[in-house]
């Protein structure tokens, strides 16, 4: 325990002024201090990728970072994928291809895939599967997730 610090987290383009202990994880700050509960926690030790967010465009595990380390960075979460009522192509594609069941890992996969595709829109199938292997899903067997991300990549290139 130690004194709280006042920091500003920029989430999906909006500043959140919060007061957190230095040891508070970014994931907890996003969820409990900023109220964006779409980012889920699956293991809190950096393996499952459920808590993935984009930090200046890079996918990171928000359970492995302290909130104070994210000050001054642009943080994007699943809530920042849609533009108003217009869903992101990845979100539409996940629904269309039955790429989710319980939905708990889904925000992490969506954010991870967005990070991958925004960086490399023409990524090959093998490299895509390898990159998506960073996250765990316990329901789907992954086939539909890969299918959905591939279809969304096509759609994103088309737009």
């Amino acid at each position: 325990m130690s004194a709280k610090r006042n920091i500003t987290l920029n989430l999906n383009g909006r500043d959140h002024a919060v007061s957190v202990e230095p040891r508070r994880t970014l994931a907890d700050a996003i969820r409990d201090d900023c109220g964006l509960t779409g980012t889920h926690l699956g293991c809190e030790h950096g393996i499952c990728g459920t808590c993935t967010v984009l930090l200046d465009g890079e996918p990171v595990r928000s359970c492995l970072m302290f909130a104070v380390q994210a000050q001054g960075k642009a943080i994007r979460t699943v809530e920042g994928l849609a533009e108003g009522d217009d869903l992101h192509p990845l979100q539409e594609s996940f629904m269309k291809h039955h790429a989710l069941q319980c939905g708990y890992c889904t925000p992490g996969f969506l954010v991870l895939a967005a990070g991958i595709l925004e960086k490399d829109p023409d990524i090959g199938d093998d490299a895509l599967a390898e990159a998506l292997s960073a996250n765990l899903c316990r329901c789907t067997g992954y086939a539909n997730i890969l299918k959905a991300v591939r279809a969304a990549a096509q759609e994103m290139r088309r737009r």
Binding site: H98, C102, T140
Partner: protein, 773 residues
């Protein structure tokens, strides 16, 4: 009924559940908060077996922000976590788990004390300040070692269970050959991506205790809690929200669920508990760990004369909500799809100093299919017969249904298989896989030095067991439809399936239906979502209720449209004449208005456009399937690559084929985890060795083969009007069997794989031993 345009039964429509889930607006247990809530942290035992000599909580209590610290003395009046009402067994009651350990801890992770504090981080700090003095006791880590003492007068073999039929000893005496195997299934579990969570809240204004974060069996847990807490049924309600995967282990009643309720009431503040992953891997129900000494008697042609199995079932430290159910299901499903004239299974149901076990997806069936199919492979190898031929001649034939397994034990219920075309499905699967061509191809590859092979697992499933479930469907004045069920959603697409069934029965667009589940204050009874019941049982109730409501709507419409009800149809929520769709019509919303209380149109009718009905099936449905696997073994590392995997499954009638496929494919990969990677290992002191995802290996996308899926509807169930069977657990059932068979085939040593999971180290040991011989 609905038009073809909106008729969705049997169609792979998009799920109603998805929009909030893909936008981050779901509401899982961790997302539920109440003002002024306290956070609970459990201090857990670091020892597998020890006497608690003293607990000093003073330093923890002194920490600012800590509201209370409890040990078992603070809840002395509270009994152990009870069995579900329908599973009570007097002889197992002494083995139930106390909510907090009383004088003795029995596994690493056993709850010893609970801290309640303003903040979750602070609660964890405080738990570290509790000082417990332990005296370590001898540890039992295996069910096949000599039993010890659980407590004064109670041994660690809590029960010796048997299932028998036919003349077993006579069959073995006259057998052409007797084949014996010694097989182990490793300890693994569901491990959903969302850990457990429970939020207790006492609303003094209404005198209602609420449990949030529930799953799987909210109504049954409510019943158990009513008994444990001495409440009236209307003083407690259980609420399910989104659930991040269940797989049988989540949603059972655990000590933490009881604690948050007792604390919320006594401390006067809501209490939230969210399990961390390490706790989950030490404390949530595990399963599968059994040793089987199995024998089979055969004649010269490979026909099975009798099976005999002695099982050592590792129950872990306590008997949880299911009693001895997993051991019993293991035994009664052992003969599977085969016509076995005589059978005997004896299960030593034993306590050890490891995490307690209970049901994990296809409980007892993953284990028994592994054993049975290994026996059948061994028959083929021993008699030099083809694996498929041996299976073919032992399958229960099509004309034998309903096929009854009648056990000698009076307390063991008979199994009555409702329908099946087992050989047809096996042949369809073999053809779709290209089995014969694969054998030739693999023979060439083996000749070129590769270690490759195929395996097959035939499996029987069960589901839709009664006795009863109900539904309430109502139409509001604007035509909105609400389906209230006592079912539960664990991510399987429950809302979509129920909406599809309601749409079919009533004649409405499934997207306009709102489905309620897991809320004990909305419907008095509910079966939940377990044992692959939801679509058949709750879905059967929804379909039946939709038909009842349809009749009610048409009765009113007949009078208003001056047309006999049988000449009317409901299409997309609009009542129209069958022979004159363009003529006068009425919406269901209009009819609801006419049926409002006080309406002049009511006549003698009861007010409201709503209906409640029940589905009461007398028997269980038995779907079945085939798993086929092709693997390559790396002799250098012992690594196994699954080159191909197929599941073929007869579901009777698929409500939503994409969701059925999702269940099957997801189940297959989960099964591959248990066959190849996942294991809760313990050292000789009972210390768990897999308490992170670095040690407990869930399959990743990189590990996942492209799983081929063949869904058939060749044997609809005669037990419900739509012919539905169930799909939740078939995906995982025969995976261990098929993979073990494929590895044996690849390395050319029948029966070599005697233990799951088949890790590279274990396979290397097998290969080295073979080389030395």
């Amino acid at each position: 009924m609905a038009t073809e345009k909106t008729r969705v039964l049997g169609h792979a429509v998009e799920r109603l559940e998805d929009p909030p889930l893909v936008t981050g607006r779901g509401r899982y247990a961790g997302d539920i908060n109440f003002p002024h809530q306290l956070h609970m942290r459990i201090l857990r035992s670091p020892h597998a077996h020890a006497r608690i000599k003293a607990i000093d909580t003073s330093a923890a209590e002194a920490l600012p922000g800590v509201f209370a610290v409890w040990t078992s003395e603070d809840i002395a009046e509270l009994g152990p976590v009870d069995f579900r009402a329908d599973r009570a067994s007097e002889i197992l009651k002494p083995y139930r788990q106390p909510v907090l350990a009383k004088g003795r801890v029995r596994y690493v992770g056993d709850p010893v004390a609970a801290v309640f504090a303003d903040d979750a981080y602070l609660a964890e700090d405080a738990a570290e300040l509790i000082v417990v003095e332990y005296e370590e006791l001898p540890v039992i880590t295996r069910a096949d070692q000599d039993p010890g003492e659980f407590d004064t007068g109670f041994g660690t073999e809590a029960a010796l269970l048997t299932h028998t039929f036919g003349e077993v000893d006579a069959a073995f005496a006259k057998a052409h050959k007797v084949i014996e195997l010694d097989l182990l299934t490793g300890r693994h579990s569901g491990v959903p991506l969302e850990t457990r969570g429970a939020i207790g809240r006492y609303d003094a204004a209404r005198d209602v205790l609420e449990l949030h974060g529930a799953a799987k069996v909210p109504h049954r847990n409510k019943d158990t809690l009513v008994g444990m807490l001495g409440l009236q049924p209307n003083q407690i309600h259980v609420h399910e929200s989104h659930v991040g995967g269940g797989f049988g282990i989540r949603g059972e009643l655990y000590p933490e669920d009881v604690l948050v309720l007792v604390a919320a009431k006594r401390l006067g503040r809501p209490v939230k508990w969210i399990e961390d992953r390490m706790e989950h891997l030490m404390c949530a129900n595990q399963g599968r760990e059994q040793r089987h000494l199995a024998r089979v008697a055969v004649d010269e042609t490979g026909r099975i004369l009798a099976m005999d199995d002695e099982i050592f079932h590792d129950q872990g430290a306590y008997v949880r909500t299911h009693g001895s159910n997993v051991a019993n299901r293991t035994m009664c499903m052992l003969t599977g799809l085969y016509d076995v004239p005589a059978f005997r299974a004896v299960a030593h149901f034993r306590l050890t100093n490891k995490t307690p076990c209970a049901t994990y997806r296809a409980p007892g069936r993953f284990e028994s299919t592994y054993v049975r199919e290994q026996l059948v492979d061994a028959i083929a190898a021993e008699l030099d017969l083809d694996r498929i031929t041996v299976r073919r001649q032992n399958l229960i034939p099509e004309d034998a249904f309903p096929y009854v397994l009648a056990f000698d034990e009076p307390h063991v219920g008979n199994l009555e298989f409702d329908s099946g075309k087992y050989e047809l499905l096996m042949d369809k699967a073999l053809e779709a896989f290209g089995w014969d061509a694969a054998q030739e191809d693999l023979a060439r590859r083996r000749a070129a030095g590769e270690m490759v092979g195929t395996g097959i697992g035939l499996f029987l499933e069960e589901g839709g067991r009664g006795p009863s479930d109900g539904a309430i469907i109502s139409v509001d004045a604007k035509g909105g439809i609400e389906v209230v069920t006592g079912g539960a959603s664990l991510g399987q697409g429950f809302e979509t399936a129920m909406a599809q069934l309601c749409a079919e029965g009533l004649g409405v667009d499934y997207k306009k239906i709102r489905v309620v589940h897991g809320q004990t204050d909305r419907i008095p009874y509910g079966i939940g979502a377990h044992a692959t019941r939801a679509t058949v049982l709750t879905g059967g109730a929804v379909y039946q209720t939709a038909l009842t409501l349809r009749a009610k709507a048409l009765d009113m419409a007949a009078e208003l449209l001056q047309t006999p009800a049988e000449a009317l149809d409901i299409v997309d929520g609009v009542v129209q004449k069958r022979n004159d769709p363009a003529g006068p019509t009425m919406t269901l919303g209009d009819i609801a208005k006419r049926l409002a209380p006080g309406s002049k149109a009511l006549g003698g009718r009861a007010p409201g456009l709503w209906a409640e009905d029940f589905f009461n099936p007398t028997e269980t449905v038995f779907p079945y399937g085939v798993h086929l696997a092709q693997v390559r073994v790396d002799p250098g590392t012992g690594g196994i690559t699954v080159e191909r995997f197929m599941v073929a499954y007869d579901v009777g009638r698929a409500v939503n084929p994409a969701m059925v496929e999702g269940q099957l494919v997801g189940g297959c990969l989960q099964g591959l985890g248990g066959a190849l990677y996942e294991e809760f290992a313990y050292d000789e002191d009972g210390q768990p060795l897999a308490v992170t995802f670095a040690d407990y290996l869930l399959p990743t996308m990189g590990d996942a083969p492209a799983i081929e899926c063949l869904i058939t509807e060749d044997a609809p169930s005669p037990l419900n009007p739509l012919g539905m069977k169930s799909a939740g657990e078939g995906g995982i059932n025969g995976v261990g069997a098929a993979i073990a068979g494929a590895v044996n085939d690849a390395i050319g040593i029948p029966g070599a794989v005697a233990r799951l999971p088949i890790t590279p180290q274990r396979l290397r040991t097998i290969l080295r031993a073979a080389q030395q011989n």
